[in-house]
């Protein structure tokens, strides 16, 4: 496949690039919050975090 063919395909507009970047940052932040939440609860519960009665 030559360079000309590679450059074809889907080219995002500036608006699409901006919204995709915003969505990516939001997903990253949400995952970060989830990680912090699990970390914080593990610290708060201590060894009890392993006790999981059903």
């Amino acid at each position: 496949m030559d360079d000309n063919q590679e450059q074809k395909g889907i080219v995002l507009t500036e608006a699409q690039k901006k919204s995709r970047r915003e969505r990516s940052i939001a997903i990253a932040l949400a995952l970060g919050v989830l990680v912090l939440l699990f970390f914080a609860v593990t610290i708060v519960k201590g060894p009890a975090v392993l006790m999981r009665p059903i």
Partner: protein, 316 residues
Amino acid sequence: MRPVVSVVDHSAMELTPRISEADVADYVALLKPRVMSLVVFTALVGLAIAPVHVHPVLAFTALLCIAVGAGASGALNMWYESDIDALMTRTANRPIPRGRVTPPEALTFGMTLAFFSVMTLGILVNWIAGALLAFTIFFYVVIYTIALKRWTAQNIVIGGAAGALPPVVAWAAATGSLSVEPFLLFLIIFFWTPPHFWALALFRSEDYARAGVPMLPVVAGPDATRLQILLYSIVLVAVALAPWPLGYFDAVYGITSLILGGGMLALAADVYRRREGREASRATRRLFAFSILYLFGLFATLLIDVLVRAAVPTSW
């Protein structure tokens, strides 16, 4: 060798995939932030009145999971209702009717949030709360949105149970069990829902009729709806007052409930009396607005009561 001839006219096919321009605000709108704020507030009260100490991190986790679960329900509701949302002025600006988010995107978003909220609540807090949150999402999306809303005028009566469950979920998150107090909160929200939404439906009945949603004013007419609003308001005020003489909530709550209940009944009677013209419309809008204040006032009183007791434990 004979050349292969395609019978499909590829030149007529649009193969370019759709590239989303939806921004974060569109996805936030899918969560129904105003509904979510009321859910968080009622859940906070459920958490606060629980007779146990809950670590702030666990309390925050529980509230966050309940909020995200409520948001997931909102997104799944908008996914299923995008066809009728486009027909109603109140909902035509939602992200799917505006073309900002496609229904499959909303479905994926809602299902992802529902999964993570339930699993996180179950793993980090307890599985009774997690299971109750899963049931709440299921009830709102499947029972209310998919099964009841387009089928019966009792849609919001039965479906109101979903909106009434968050304080029960929060209580379960705090205590790991269930008790009478959260069900009292459940009953208050359950009986508050019909007069609140039927007041809205009275001044939005043309919208609902255009969309083919069998809300009570569309099916039974405005006068029958006014009677039902009055009857449900009487039951609501009685249910909201009952915890005081039964000894579950104290006199501060009881007196607030009495005062706010008087206002609710007066406005419901006004809606029943005024049936024509601008006066009727004004009475309906007043009841709708006051009903929000009524529920907020009752729950805020319980919350303030708990905070005051925590601050000055010896004076009680």
